[in-house]
Symmetry: C2
Subunit: 636 residues, 2 copies
Amino acid sequence: IQYDAGDYDVIVVGAGHAGSEAALASARMGNKTMLITINVDMVAFMPCNPSLGGPAKGTVVREIDALGGEMGRNIDKTYIQMRMLNTGKGPAVRALRAQADKHAYHRAMKQTIEEQPNLTLRQGIVDSLIVEDGVCKGIVTYTGAKYSAKSVVVCAGTAARGRIIIGELRYSSGPNNSQPALKLSKNLEDLGFDLKRFKTGTPPRVNGRTIDFSETEEQPGDPEVNHFSYETPDEDYIPVKDQLSCWLTYTNETTHQIIRDNLDRAPMFTGVIEGVGPRYCPSIEDKIVRFADKNRHQVFLEPEGRDTNEYYCDSLSTSLPEEVQQKMLHSVEGLHHAEMMRPGYAIEYDVVAPYQLKPTFETKLVKNLYTAGQTNGTSGYEEAAGQGLYAGINAALRAQGKDQFTLKRDEAYIGVLADDLVTKGTNEPYRLLTSRAEYRLLLRNDNADFRLTEKGHDLGLISDERYNKFLDKKKAVMDELARLAKIRIKPSDEVNEFVEEHGDKPLKDGILASIFLRRPYVNYQTLLQFIEPAPKPLGRRVIEQVEIRTKYAGYIKKAEQNVARMKKMEAKKIPEDIDYEAIDSLATEARQKLEKIRPQTVAQASRISGVNPSDVAILGVYIQQGHIAKINSEDK
Amino acid sequence: IQYDAGDYDVIVVGAGHAGSEAALASARMGNKTMLITINVDMVAFMPCNPSLGGPAKGTVVREIDALGGEMGRNIDKTYIQMRMLNTGKGPAVRALRAQADKHAYHRAMKQTIEEQPNLTLRQGIVDSLIVEDGVCKGIVTYTGAKYSAKSVVVCAGTAARGRIIIGELRYSSGPNNSQPALKLSKNLEDLGFDLKRFKTGTPPRVNGRTIDFSETEEQPGDPEVNHFSYETPDEDYIPVKDQLSCWLTYTNETTHQIIRDNLDRAPMFTGVIEGVGPRYCPSIEDKIVRFADKNRHQVFLEPEGRDTNEYYCDSLSTSLPEEVQQKMLHSVEGLHHAEMMRPGYAIEYDVVAPYQLKPTFETKLVKNLYTAGQTNGTSGYEEAAGQGLYAGINAALRAQGKDQFTLKRDEAYIGVLADDLVTKGTNEPYRLLTSRAEYRLLLRNDNADFRLTEKGHDLGLISDERYNKFLDKKKAVMDELARLAKIRIKPSDEVNEFVEEHGDKPLKDGILASIFLRRPYVNYQTLLQFIEPAPKPLGRRVIEQVEIRTKYAGYIKKAEQNVARMKKMEAKKIPEDIDYEAIDSLATEARQKLEKIRPQTVAQASRISGVNPSDVAILGVYIQQGHIAKINSEDK
Ligand SMILES: Cc1cc2nc3c(=O)[nH]c(=O)nc-3n(C[C@H](O)[C@H](O)[C@H](O)COP(=O)(O)OP(=O)(O)OC[C@H]3O[C@@H](n4cnc5c(N)ncnc54)[C@H](O)[C@@H]3O)c2cc1C
Ligand SMILES: Cc1cc2nc3c(=O)[nH]c(=O)nc-3n(C[C@H](O)[C@H](O)[C@H](O)COP(=O)(O)OP(=O)(O)OC[C@H]3O[C@@H](n4cnc5c(N)ncnc54)[C@H](O)[C@@H]3O)c2cc1C
């Protein structure tokens, strides 16, 4: 028995990491929004590693924050350890990483959602979408509730026809033994969507009371203050002594032998699992097989929260039988007597193959329907949250009849992710890596605010107050860069002593402060020994920008030139109604791929695998010759 | 594929309120114990009201604490509001009640369990028991893990073949949409157990942001300090300003009309639900029908925790369709615009009819197998925890080859509960009420320590330190009672002025302090105006005892005389192998009932409904005449 249960502007299905961001963004942009999810006790739940950030992923969290999303603020409220990774390397790969109090993270996000005006959080299972004439008009739940909406975002995650596998055991289930969503997938198939089957896995958890930490290496947090959100004040940083440590141990030959002896009981090798697994978070059995010559693998033991003794055994993701998992654990230093509290497991789930999406994450098949997160074939909380924010913004704009929003590859990792998905598709759970970004020196952890705060403000997701603070910071950085480019340091005894101390030749002529700062052994503080300080004292985040922008100026400039070249190609829009059959000279593979993906710009076309430079040239000429009617502006 | 996964002394199945107590008690008594449960994120979870205590139930929590159980300590760590109910009434019905931070309660209990030496907490589903020659030897889980044990306690709660019902919607599920246990019930049936189908329900939850509290009445916590555990220091009490309030509102004629209009969609009226529901926590539809003349019912809006906006709508337990629930809510003052976050639902589940249990909660059918909690046909967290502790103690004693432990009806509400269950059975979810206890003036909230600390100490569950503290308190109480019984208050002007102020006649002769204290307008503090203080200053808990024991001395004495009479009957043991067929003069009904329940004492026999005083007399004579072989001491 169905009944009319209410009207919303935007409905978001699934309150995982993607859905939480989507719903918050939509509500904050002024839309009456509903977030409906199978169990409100699982809002923004982390079924796998209790941590956020790291290379590329950490930068995504910063980007989400700069656009006005929630993940950064939420982890800053609930982390138990904070570390900046790769501090010895260049700024492009520096990455913030936080250990989360898993349940506190969930609770904080849930409460933020509960308190958000315009937003209704509701428990329920969406069984189907209401689609009329190719346009999504709402949803229907398992209790027969029909909700109408101007746009809908589906973020179903691993619950979509989820199936858990532990050795020979298999059962229908969402993550962490939650209820799966069984009917929505069928409905999507009926609507004509091409669904794929992916899988992912999680390691066992052990009781910390039974770990011998003396056999492991301690990995404490950082004394240096860092947060994910640009809003979190430095004073809020948790002193290292109050942070929790992680602990490093290793697998060994015994572990590997145990696994090899049981490969015939490993579901992925026996073919029980049809889903495709993540290449970049492989199971331990996968690693043992693929890297047969490695005689050990790192295992980080990570606390799951402040009020639990559960430890996550990073890198031991597995779907081997429970019995084998237990043996495997006991073979590892520090874990010889460890009690396994929960076995690891693999989960198989449905994915909407992302070639079916526009660059806005609207589906090509059904107007006003968006998908985001694990549903789009990715893996990872940050990837999900970034997509959720992105899709939520577009669903919100659509509900308001406004132009859509996209991020380019040079603007954000989120842009790289979106473009990769819709342009290249993915045959396995997609994970962000710094190597996926061609402009990684532009997409840094430190400058997400420079890249995105203005966009967030334009969208109504960043307050005027925060925006003005950002403008102040920007001005301070620009002013100081300009000042340093004018101050000349004279070759005084003082300078030359310092220079020689660092094995460099003494200055003969004066040198511009901005040039001097590029030297590896000079930082902003040492510079101040030789020049006047700025008229107003500079904050450490301003100094950080001044240093990075000065030291890497050459590389950054080169990257920007590349971007400019690419921009020209991006400007070449491909008309929505282009008929690839009509372009004779295209290679067959290129034609097929172009037909499948239907890129929106020549630049996007050039990134499709199978579309060669010659095809791109032909396409460009064809469009320039005026074979185009007009550009559909709504979907730019 | 089954495999040997380990040996334990005691295995507890299900980490709800019963299982948590059972496992902790067993481990603390020195047994290697495993607690295995479907999802460790549900340990000691409260699927219904986020509160503990109240009449009878609150006293059970005190009893659990006095015996060395955990519930009292745990709620003292995690309450958000504390109130002593019925303070205007006699001490027999005074009852402490706490509002719990539901998730914090779970987390605190989980961590206590994780940290308990001897105790392994493990996620898994028990599919069957290992039973050989009528003796339980262990369990088998869904992953094929075989664990052996000397005794096993099953506390499966509402997950046992759980089925959720919301209007026309039904699906297999444990509480709060968790995984149900499907196979264990079947196994119990195969072993010959008689299972019954019960049901219970829970109300919808609403978002506090959408409640208009100005239309409701505030119910703040108590300024007066009280805790559940005898161990919690007074200093730990949360000041009222930091406690959270509950809010009182009422249903009205519109609400009732909405419900009446939809009774044809109420599963319990349409016969969809076969399970028997709780008489004392009826659904709102049930109340509207049963109390058709009442034009309103109280609805308490109770916060579910500190870090959530969810409110529990007490008294609106329902399995009506979601649509009707929403309408019903909106008809209530304060809830006109309330957003329902989760619908209420009913759940049906399996119960081991408790006539199949011995007074120790060991099953009659399978030796070394115990059952406790909702599985035994009760309802309520406190009832479950009390039983869990009781069964856990007995399973632990059995594993150690020691004599079993029981509590009598005059010793504890837990004793009343146990005796009611095994003697009378229950045809509906059994709930403790003060009216179930014939000696309620003995089973007070204030004196659980006097009744049970010694037993807890004997069992090894109360530390020497705590026991000695208790002995000190006891001595202080006894000394002061003795002192007051000797001090004579002279009829001074001062006393007589005071007495006359309270409308009483002036004293002519002296009066014993202990007699004077019985007067309603005299309390211990006023007494001190007229007599010397005790040689050592007395704590408030000592004074409380002195007052209650003095003021209610008459009633208490009478109750104790009744107990003494009953004790004689309790002493008349019925031999295990008695043949009721051989006692000709028994009435047929009595013979059948005695055969079914197989009581262990004549007193127990006398409490079986259908066994009349004449039957009891016949039975007594029969036993005294020496028709008995010997008493099996192990099962006393
Ligand atoms: C076992 C396991 C192991 C993992 N391992 C890794 C790993 O090693 N590395 C890694 O990067 N990532 C891993 N992940 C993935 C990570 O959990 C996800 O990437 C991330 O949670 C995705 O966020 P999401 O919002 O897309 O989906 P989810 O977090 O899954 O959230 C989806 C939500 O939608 C709800 N929902 C689904 N369908 C419906 C419906 N029809 N109606 C209403 N609500 C619905 C679900 O209940 C759920 O709450 C793992 C996940 C699991 C379960
Ligand atoms: C919807 C609902 C409404 C309720 N309403 C009320 C009410 O109004 N008043 C009231 O007094 N009480 C109510 N209750 C009852 C209250 O929740 C229970 O009385 C109390 O939780 C019982 O505790 P327990 O330990 O016996 O069982 P539970 O708390 O149910 O715990 C049982 C545990 O055992 C686990 N388990 C079950 N089978 C297996 C297995 N085979 N293997 C491993 N683990 C297993 C389960 O997962 C669960 O964690 C309600 C319960 C529910 C679900």
